[in-house]
Amino acid sequence: MTQLDLYALLPVIFLAAWASLLLLADLFVPHGRKGITALLSALGLLITLGISLAQFGRSAAGFGGMVALDGFSTFLACLFLLTGLLGVALAFNYLKRMDIERGEYYALLLFSVVGMMLMAQASDLIVVFLALELLSIPLYVMAAMAYPKTDSEEAGIKYFLLGAFASGFVVYGIALAFGATGTTSLSAIVAAVASGAADLPLLLAGAGLILVGFGFKIAAVPFHMWTPDVYQGAPTPVTAFMAAGAKAAGFAALLRIFALGLPALALDMTQVLVVLSALSMLVGNFVAIAQTDIKRMLAYSSIAQAGYILMAFVPYGNPAVRELSIAAALFYLAAYTLTSFGAWGVVIALEKPDGQGLKIDDYAGLGRRQPLLAAAMTIFMLSLIGLPPTLGLVGKIYLFRAVIAGGFYPLAVVGVLTSLISAYYYLRVVVKMYMQEGDPQVTRERWLDFTIGAMAVVTVVVSLFPAPLFDWASRAVLALF
């Protein structure tokens, strides 16, 4: 292991070490004072964030080309670390309130973040698989954390079974890709394809299976069946973490594998991606209309959002648009992370230990009782629809730019029309909050308030001054090649 190897993987190594130590340290933290563990995990995430930010603009390859450090991975690493921080902030009081406070939560969360960061850096299919497992297994446990609630157990088991299934697809896909090219390294695959040594049909089959596997992770239709149940059953902070982090990690892997390793298959893959994207947008948005439970509604909304991000991914094979499309996907992932965390935060504020407070009807009267909370939720809903002045609009415009530049006009039309449909169910929450009477019981707590407030402010302010984030996302991509 050379110094360069170490440098390329420094944030991942550091955080993994920190997580392992945290697992030990937690043994000495007395029960009922798990706030210390939370604080330590947040500290670890912050230090890692510092390291990642310091690596900004650097690029390197480590471990014989198995991992890469570039703008793409740095951007995503920062996003994952932010996801982790928000996951901690939302969980701290929630776990106590729901009486499921366990120190392991924080360690598991850190391990999962490590997996996500490794995923963004993986430039070898074996590392991709390693990262996938590292990020998923802690999530299975976290989903079932609210044991002995049956919902939560069901969520854990369901997520585990389907996740294992998806991992199987990925492994089989990797095996086929190896069979087709004789290598698992992305750069070597490109070389093999270029030299004509690769068995293209076999490689295509492998790529298809990998796509299926990650389709599960990002919750794209038709691989979305687990999403509503798992999102509903898992403790809400875990759901928030999963919806933002696991989805982004799935996209990170897809973007790197397909854009970097398999550009040769773009012609065939594009057709598949168009269908996946359109189906996700249609099914996600239409089924969300029928939901009465806010967690299920947001789950279907996250399926739809996966469709929107896939939309940017569609023209990846067109060299003129590729950078734009990856930048758009990254930007939208960031926008979605910020917005969805805010929305989940509001869900947590209304959720009660006995599982009440999760119906959309329970939001009636929030505008009067808790004007600030309701205003924040309104901002998140507007952002998910894609209306000004929020980040969601800017993100969608970025996505549509990629799609239109790529020439996929029908897909763009599907995108905007489904946005219109989504307006209906997102606005229903707003209608409940402001236009119907009720007396919702709300938990106000410092970190939760801070998270919700910060997300609301960021969603609006960054939408008014998006240039730096645009710039960052676009440079994150240049370094990929």
Partner: protein, 503 residues
């Protein structure tokens, strides 16, 4: 941050100062809240007047965009989005209409809105920012942001303070208008990619003729729903009827004009070839709208619905004038936008005043009001006459000019003078339904409501809301030249672009 201190930036964003103040007031201080909102909107109006007429920075005789406020907003990663505000003869009157109607609408809510006054005023001032922004934005991206943003406060105004079916009306309003504008969004992005800029003045003349028709349709979808043109009007009666009075005033007075303004600012100059091809269709739809709106008004028993449908008819005139594509037609159309804002705004105010006392809008329950409330009756009569186009009042000038323009276009884009001839039927129908309304409410024997309510005549506050409108109703009717002078240079410039594209 220099660009934020430019005159138009100040006009646009000044209401935000009022919003800030409102945030620090308590919900119980209703009068303070009302006064703050009113004062803010009045100051905004004064600033707008000053900027255009007394600052010496706006030259009425110049045709181009003036009072430019520019800033490279997002110029990274291949984007070229600017903060770009400017005004010219096409927009000056609409900007002034917005700043003029807002304080009037706020004043009309003094006693009508008692619930959640703070939220109401917040949304109202935010709405003003959005509306003014729509009329001053010259960058398509910025325009779209303002355009969509106006939906949000209006949605709340209808949904919280509206009538019994407010939820339905609010969501219908929202989804309908959003349906049109998202297609426009795709067209805007296409333009941004293919012309390299989002600034409207730079795009003029750059759009390839082959692509124009699709873009025209995408933009027209957004604007035609907003106008609303027949057959896309069905959101309008619901929204109008359920909206609170002030909401209706702004909806009719300004929001609908955003649609016609969109045609004027974007569809005509950006896609002139397509606009010329589409003109016969647009003209025909406009004529259908004129007659349909008027005919349906005739059948209404609810006075607010009657006024709402009359908007469909009046806006049809505006569209007819715009797509006549000659100077006189377009000038008439712009003037008619203002006229409609004044007359229909006043009608909604009047309906609101009586509704506040009786809580019914059924024509059949009224009757004989004039005897009890003479001043109210007289003003209603003047406004009704203005709305039906009596010579000497503003409506006549607008409709007459539009008909002249449409007639003149007979040889050109429409290819037939029938457009003008048929739409004249609308004028006749307007006289019938307006007089019918007046007769039912004010003349004849006292009706159910009139007998059982202790009705009062207008108070000073109500007179203060109506008087400014009446002044302009007479002014435009008797001496419209200053208004035409404001728009003529810019309209001539636009017509030059259009005639260059004529086959």
């Amino acid at each position: 941050m220099d660009f934020l201190l430019q005159p138009l930036s100040i006009v646009t964003f000044f209401p935000l100062l009022g919003v800030l103040v409102l945030l620090f007031l308590k919900s119980e201080q209703k009068d303070a809240l009302r006064w703050t909102a009113l004062a803010t909107s009045l100051v905004t109006f004064v600033i707008s007047i000053w900027v255009f007429f007394f600052s010496g920075q706006y030259d009425i005789a110049a045709p181009g965009l003036q009072l430019v406020a520019k800033y490279d907003w997002i110029s990274v990663a291949g984007w070229d989005i600017r903060y770009y505000l400017a005004a010219d003869g096409l927009s000056i009157l609409l900007i002034l209409l917005t700043t003029f109607l807002t304080p009037i609408a706020i004043l009309s809510t003094w006693t009508a809105v008692q619930e959640r006054v703070k939220d109401f005023m917040l949304f109202f001032l935010l709405l003003e920012v959005g509306m003014t922004g729509v009329f001053v934005a010259q960058d398509l991206f910025l325009f779209y942001i303002f355009w969509e943003f106006t939906l949000v406060p209006m949605y709340f105004l209808i949904g919280i303070w509206g009538g019994p079916r407010r939820l339905y009306a609010a969501i219908k309003f929202f989804l309908y208008t959003m349906a049109g504008s998202i297609l426009m969004l795709l067209a805007i992005i296409w333009l941004g990619i293919n012309t390299g800029t989002f600034s409207t003045p730079d795009i003029i003349g750059k759009v390839p003729a082959a692509a124009q028709m699709l873009l025209f349709v995408a933009f027209a979808a957004a604007f035609a729903i907003k106008v609303p043109m027949w057959p896309l009007h069905s959101w309008l009666p619901d929204a109008h009827v359920e909206a609170p009075t002030a909401g209706s005033v702004i909806l009719a007075g300004v929001l609908l004009k955003m649609g016609t303004y969109g045609f004027l600012r974007f569809n005509l100059p950006l896609f002139p070839e397509a606009a010329i091809q589409a003109a016969p269709v647009m003209g025909a739809l406009a004529v259908v709208g004129i007659i349909y709106g008027a005919a349906v008004s005739l059948a209404q028993r609810d006075v607010k619905k009657l006024v709402a449908y009359s908007s469909v008819s009046h806006l049809g005139f505006v569209m007819l004038g715009l797509f006549a594509m000659n100077s006189i037609g377009i000038q008439g159309a712009i003037l008619q936008m203002i006229n409609h804002g004044l007359s229909t705004g006043a009608l909604f105010l009047l309906v609101g005043i009586i509704y506040e006392q009786t809580h019914t809008r059924e024509l059949s329950e009224y009757g004989g009001l004039w005897k009890i409330t003479p001043l109210f009756g007289t003003i209603t009569l003047i406004v009704a006459l203005s709305s039906m186009g009596l010579p000497g009042l503003n409506g006549f000038v607008g409709e007459f000019t539009i008909l002249l323009g449409a007639w003149g276009a007979g040889e050109g884009v429409y290819g037939s003078v029938w457009f003008a001839a048929l739409s004249a039927i609308g004028v006749i129908l307007a006289a019938i339904y307006m007089l019918y309304m007046f007769q039912k409410m004010f003349l004849g024997p006292a009706g159910e409501v009139t007998r059982h309510h202790q009705l009062r005549d207008l108070n000073w506050r109500e007179i203060a809301t109506l008087l400014p409108l009446l002044v302009f109703i007479f002014w435009i009717g008797l001496y419209p030249k200053p208004f035409f002078d404001l728009m003529a240079p810019s309209v001539d410039q636009l017509v030059a672009v259009l005639s260059a594209a004529m086959p």
